[in-house]
C-alpha cells in the first residue's frame, strides 16, 4: 500500500501543478525565429538554433524553457521567451511566447510587457543586465517579481548558450570541498576575512540626503562551520544544516536601516524580488519555500538586525567554493514615485574555509 502511495505521489505531482490553474491570465503568442534575429537560414542544434546569413554564422536563437524552466514568475509558471543574440553576444531581440503573469491586476496591459522587453535589444549579455540598472522597471512598475524573474530568464538562458558557443569564456576555477574545521571567530574576524560581506546603500545615494544607510546589509555562506556556527549559533546552525538536502547550499542575509531586502512580494507571489545570486551563467532566485526567518546573530560584536533570513539554494549546480554575486534591487519612494536602486557585491569564500 505504501508503495502505491509513493508511486501516486510521483505521478500526480506534475498533474497537480498543472491542474486547473486560472486560464484567463494566460497569454500564448505565435512566433517565428526571425522575430528576434533576422537571418536567411536557421540550423537546429540540440536546444538552440544557429542563424546564418549568406552562409555566415550571425547569431543564435533559443527558447528559454529549454534552459531556465526552473525560473517561474508570480503565477508560478515559466515565462517562455524567445531570445536572439549575435556572435558578439549582443541581444538582437526577445519575445515572450507564453506567460501567465497577472499584470492586468495592477492595471498593466500586454503592451506594457512588450515595452519592458524592448529594452533588451542591444544589451551585451557578457556585461551586466540588472533590473533597476541597465534594465529599467518603468514599463511594468509594480510587477517587480515578473521583472526580476523575466530578467533572470533572459540573462541566464542567453549566457548558457553563449558559454556553449564560446562567446563567454569562464576562467576555469577549481572546485574545493568546504573545510569541516571549526574556529571561534568574532564578527570582526568574519568581516575582515571576507567570510561576511557588506552592502551599504546610503540615504544620499537614493537622493534622500544623509549619510546614514538606507540599507546596511550583510551576507555570507552558512555551511562552513567557522562561518555558520559563529554567525547563527550552534543550535540554529545545526537546525539550518538539518534542513539542507544533499547538494543544497544556503546563505544568510540580514540588514539594518529603513530599506528592506525582503520586500513584500514574497507574501503574495512567494518570490523574493529584491535580490538574487549569480554564479557564472546561472542566476538563483528565492521563493518562500527556500526561506527561514533569521532573528538573532550569535557572533560576538555583531550588529543588530532589523530583518534577516536564511535562504536555501536548491540547485545543485551552485558551487560554494567559487565566486558569486549577490545582486540587490532596493525599492524606495521618491515622493509618490516608486524607484529602484541596484547594488551588487562579489563573494568569494576565503581559502581558509576550504580544504586545499
Amino acid at each position: 500500500m505504501k508503495k502505491i502511495i509513493v508511486l501516486l505521489f510521483v505521478l500526480m505531482l506534475p498533474v497537480a501543478a498543472l491542474a486547473d490553474k486560472p486560464k484567463f491570465l494566460e497569454h500564448r503568442y505565435e512566433y517565428k525565429l526571425e522575430d528576434v534575429l533576422k537571418a536567411d537560414k536557421y540550423e537546429k542544434k540540440d536546444r538552440y538554433w544557429e542563424a546564418y546569413t549568406a552562409g555566415k554564422l550571425v547569431g543564435y536563437v533559443l527558447l528559454s524553457k529549454d534552459w531556465t524552466k526552473q525560473h517561474v514568475g508570480y503565477a508560478g509558471k515559466h515565462m517562455e521567451t524567445l531570445i536572439g543574440f549575435d556572435t558578439k553576444g549582443q541581444i538582437t531581440g526577445v519575445k515572450v511566447v507564453f506567460h501567465a503573469e497577472p499584470i492586468v491586476l495592477i492595471g498593466l496591459k500586454e503592451e506594457n510587457y512588450d515595452n519592458f522587453m524592448k529594452q533588451y535589444k542591444g544589451m551585451a549579455i557578457t556585461q551586466g543586465m540588472s533590473v533597476g540598472n541597465e534594465i529599467k522597471m518603468d514599463a511594468i512598475t509594480g510587477a517587480t517579481v515578473t521583472a526580476v524573474v523575466q530578467n533572470a530568464i533572459i540573462a541566464e538562458s542567453a549566457r548558457k548558450v553563449a558559454s556553449m558557443s564560446g562567446i563567454i569564456q569562464h576562467a576555469h576555477q577549481k572546485s574545493h570541498k568546504l573545510s569541516k574545521k571549526f574556529e571561534a571567530l568574532s564578527w570582526k574576524d568574519l568581516m575582515d576575512s571576507g567570510a561576511v560581506k557588506n552592502i551599504v546603500v546610503t540615504q544620499e545615494e537614493i537622493g534622500q540626503g544623509g549619510k546614514e544607510p538606507y540599507i546596511d546589509l550583510f551576507f555570507g555562506l552558512v555551511a562552513p562551520p567557522s562561518i555558520g556556527k559563529n554567525v547563527l549559533g550552534e543550535r540554529a546552525y545545526a537546525d539550518a544544516m538539518d534542513t539542507l538536502k544533499e547538494g543544497e547550499s544556503a546563505v544568510f542575509i540580514f540588514s539594518n536601516g529603513p530599506g528592506s531586502f525582503k520586500g513584500s512580494g514574497f507574501a503574495r507571489g512567494g518570490v523574493f524580488e529584491r535580490f538574487n545570486l549569480e554564479q557564472d551563467d546561472k542566476s538563483y532566485v528565492f521563493t518562500d519555500k527556500d526561506y527561514k526567518i533569521l532573528t538573532d546573530i550569535a557572533a560576538k560584536g555583531s550588529p543588530a538586525l532589523r530583518e534577516g533570513g536564511i535562504f536555501i539554494i536548491r540547485a545543485k549546480d551552485f558551487d560554494q567554493s567559487k565566486p558569486f554575486k549577490l545582486k540587490l534591487v532596493i525599492g524606495y519612494r521618491a515622493g509618490n514615485e516608486k524607484k529602484f536602486k541596484p547594488a551588487v557585491s562579489d563573494y568569494k569564500l576565503p581559502d581558509k574555509f576550504m580544504e586545499q
Partner: protein, 611 residues
C-alpha cells in the same frame, strides 16, 4: 452547587485557617500568617533588569506558549514574552471560522460533541525535553483526549475514554520518550456507569493510561479515590496524582471531611506486568486493573494534608511537590524514595522530605531550574518563590522553619491565581526566564466590558530574586494551564504547507461525479479561482464538496462558503477538506472564498444551481 462561588471561596479560606489541623501541618506554620512574610511592594523591587519583554515589530518571540482554553474547548498558541495570541486551535469546540465541526473530517473527530473543557496541554517528550511531535489535551466535560500534530498544529485524533468523569490531570511520559500518557478522573462514578442506584461509597475513580501513538486506552487502574492533577517522573517509572476526595463525598462538606488526602503513585512496570499476567477485567471495552488499597501492589498512597491540588516535578527529577490548596503548605516528596515504599521498606510518609508553609491556598508549583520553586497561592492572590533545598534543610532547623526562611519573595498578583508556569519548567531544561500567572479574575485590570469579563494573565520576570510583573494580558474563557516551550524546539518542526497527498481525497482535477442523487463536487482552489465556475444540482441531491488548496505560497489560505447553506471552511496551502449537505433549496447559490487570498479575492466565486 448551592453555595455561590464567592462564598465557596470564603469557605475554603476558612477551612484552610480553621480546619488546617492535620498532624502533618506543623504548629510553627499554623502560628504564622501571611503578614509574617509580607507582600511584595514597590520599594522592595530590585533595580530594573535588562531582561527585555518588549517584542518589537518584525521581531519574534523566544517561546511558544501552548494554552488550554477551558470551557471554550480550544487550545491556543501564544508567543512569549509578548503574550500575543498567535493561533487558536479548535479542539473540542465548533469553530465556524476554520470550519472545524462543519467539515466531514472534523465531524468525524468530534462525533457530534462540540462542548469541551480543556485543562492541561502537555507535549510529547524525548529524554525529558519536548520533542515537538505532539500536544495532548484533555476534555473534562465529555471525557476525551485530543492529540495535536505540531507540524500542522491541528487535531489529528480524539479518543473517548470510558468509565470516567471529570477527566483531569493529563500528563505525558517524559522518559525515554512519550509512549504513554495518563489522565485522571476527578469525579467518582459507578464503574461501569450502568447502576444509577449505586451508593456513592461504591463509586470509583480510574487512572487511565493511553498509548500516545495509537491513541488507544492501554488500561485503567480502578481506585477508590478521585484523582486531580497528574505528573510523570523523569525516569519513565511512575505516574503520580493528587486526590482530594478520599472520603467519596458527593457534597462539598463531605469532600472536606478528612484531615488528609493522598498523593497516589502508579508503578508502570508493575502495571505492565499485571497486564501481561492478565490481571485485568474488561469494562466498557477497556482493560481495568484493580488499584484499590489492599487489592494490588500497583499503587502507593502518601498522606498529604487536606485536599491537595497541583503536583509538579522539579526539573532535576528529584522531587514531586504537592500544593496544599486547603492546607497552606506544599509537600515535597523525594522521588528516589518511592521505590522503597513500593517494596515495603519504608512507610509512604517517609518520602515526604519537607512541608514548608507557602500561604493560603497553594495550587500549583513551577520551577526556575536554579533550585527554586514558585507556587501559586489562590486565596492570598500571590506567587510565592521559595528554595526547595532550604525548605528541606529547615525541617531540621525549627527556628529557621518558624521564620519561613525558605521563602525568597512573595508577589501580589491581580487577581486570584490558578495555574502558573515558568519557561521550560516541565522539562530538564527549565531556564528561569519568565513565568505566567494565569489569574482567574481580572476585575479592574482592563476597560470594563460588562459583567462577563476576561481573565487576567500576568507575565512575570523571574530572573532576579524578586518576582516582577511586566505585563497584563486579557484571556478569553478560560485558560487553566499552559506549557512554555523554547522556540527552536517547535520552529524546526512546524510546516508552512500540508503534504497534499497525505489526504486520499486530495483533488487534482476539478469535476462533478453523480451516482443517483449522490453528487461529488471536486474543486481545486487557486487564487483567484475555484476549479469550476458552476455546478448543476437537483433538489434533494446529497452533495459532497471536496476542496483542495493548490496554492503553495505560505499563508495563502482559501475559504469555501456556500450562501444560505450554513457552510464555511478554510483550506490552508495544499490542504483538503470536504463537506456534505443536502441541496434542499432550489435556486442559484454563490459559493465564495471567505479567506482573503488575492487582489481578485472578491471575484473568487462560483455558482451552485439547484433545480
Amino acid at each position: 452547587m448551592s453555595i455561590d462561588r464567592r462564598n465557596f471561596l470564603k469557605y475554603l479560606g476558612m477551612a484552610g485557617a480553621v480546619a488546617g489541623t492535620s498532624l502533618l501541618v506543623s504548629e510553627g506554620i499554623k502560628a504564622k500568617g501571611k503578614d509574617a512574610i509580607g507582600p511584595a511592594s514597590a520599594e522592595a523591587q530590585t533595580k530594573p533588569q535588562k531582561h527585555d519583554y518588549e517584542v518589537k515589530p518584525g521581531e519574534l518571540d523566544s517561546y511558544y506558549g501552548f494554552w488550554s482554553g477551558g470551557h471554550s474547548g480550544e487550545v491556543r498558541i501564544l508567543g512569549l514574552p509578548s503574550m500575543r495570541e498567535i493561533k487558536r486551535i479548535p479542539v473540542f469546540n465548533m469553530d465556524v471560522g476554520t470550519g472545524y465541526g462543519i467539515t466531514n473530517e472534523s465531524k468525524a473527530l468530534l462525533k457530534g460533541k462540540f462542548c469541551g473543557d480543556t485543562h492541561h496541554v502537555h507535549g510529547s517528550y524525548k529524554n525529558g525535553v519536548y520533542d515537538g511531535k505532539y500536544l495532548f489535551v484533555n476534555d473534562k466535560l465529555n471525557n476525551r483526549v485530543a492529540r495535536i500534530r505540531c507540524d500542522y498544529m491541528e487535531v489529528d485524533k480524539i479518543l473517548d475514554v470510558p468509565n470516567i468523569q471529570g477527566m483531569h490531570g493529563l500528563f505525558t511520559q517524559r522518559h525515554p520518550k512519550t509512549e504513554w500518557l495518563v489522565v485522571n478522573s476527578e469525579f467518582q462514578i459507578p464503574v461501569p456507569n450502568n447502576t444509577p442506584s449505586q451508593a456513592p461509597s461504591q463509586y470509583n475513580g480510574c487512572h487511565t493510561v493511553i498509548d500516545a501513538e495509537k491513541m488507544e486506552v492501554v488500561c485503567q487502574i480502578l481506585m477508590d479515590e478521585n484523582m486531580d492533577l497528574a505528573a510523570t517522573d523523569y525516569g519513565g517509572r511512575y505516574s503520580m496524582t493528587t486526590s482530594y476526595n478520599i472520603e467519596k463525598g458527593v457534597t462539598v462538606s463531605e469532600m472536606l471531611g478528612s484531615d488528609y488526602d493522598y498523593m497516589l503513585v502508579f508503578h508502570w512496570d508493575r502495571i505492565k506486568k499485571a497486564l501481561s499476567d492478565g490481571k485485568f477485567k474488561m469494562v466498557g471495552g477497556v482493560k481495568v486493573l484493580d488499584g484499590r488499597a489492599g487489592k494490588s501492589d500497583l499503587t502507593i498512597r502518601i498522606k498529604i494534608p487536606k485536599n491537595p491540588h497541583g503536583i509538579n516535578v522539579s526539573p532535576d527529577g528529584k522531587y514531586a511537590v504537592c500544593s496544599g490548596k486547603v492546607a497552606p503548605t506544599c509537600s515535597v516528596v523525594a522521588i528516589d524514595k518511592i521505590e522503597d515504599v513500593f517494596n515495603g521498606k519504608i512507610k509512604p510518609e517517609d518520602c515526604i522530605v519537607a512541608q514548608p508553609y507557602i500561604g493560603l491556598g497553594p495550587l500549583h508549583t513551577t520551577f526556575d531550574g536554579k533550585g527554586n520553586a514558585i507556587t501559586s497561592v489562590f486565596i492570598d492572590s500571590t506567587n510565592v518563590k521559595w528554595n526547595v533545598q532550604k525548605a528541606i534543610d529547615n525541617e531540621k532547623l525549627p527556628e529557621e522553619k518558624k521564620k519561613n526562611s525558605h521563602i525568597i519573595d512573595v508577589l501580589d498578583v491581580n487577581y486570584q491565581v490558578g495555574h502558573i508556569m515558568a519557561t521550560m519548567a516541565e522539562t530538564k531544561e527549565a531556564d528561569g526566564q519568565w513565568l505566567v500567572s494565569l489569574n482567574k479574575f481580572s476585575k479592574d485590570r482592563f476597560l470594563n466590558v460588562g459583567p462577563l469579563k476576561n481573565e487576567c494573565e500576568q507575565l512575570v520576570d523571574i530572573t532576579g530574586d524578586k518576582l516582577k510583573i511586566v505585563h497584563d494580558s486579557a484571556a478569553y474563557i478560560e485558560p487553566h494551564d499552559c506549557i512554555i516551550v523554547r522556540r527552536d524546539i517547535i520552529e524546526k518542526v512546524v510546516k508552512d504547507r500540508f503534504n497534499m497527498f497525505e489526504n486520499p481525497l486530495a483533488v487534482t482535477k476539478s469535476g462533478v461525479e453523480r451516482k443517483g442523487n449522490k453528487v461529488t463536487v471536486k474543486l481545486t482552489a487557486n487564487a483567484p479561482v475555484f476549479g469550476l465556475q458552476e455546478v448543476q444540482l437537483k433538489k434533494g441531491d446529497e452533495v459532497t464538496v471536496i476542496v483542495t488548496n493548490h496554492d503553495e505560497i505560505s499563508d495563502l489560505g482559501h475559504g469555501f462558503a456556500l450562501s444560505n447553506y450554513n457552510i464555511n471552511f478554510v483550506v490552508a496551502p495544499f490542504q483538503t477538506k470536504s463537506v456534505t449537505f443536502t441541496a434542499d433549496k432550489p435556486g442559484v447559490y454563490w459559493a465564495y472564498c471567505t479567506n482573503f487570498c488575492h487582489a481578485l479575492h472578491l471575484e473568487m466565486r462560483m455558482r451552485l444551481i439547484v433545480t
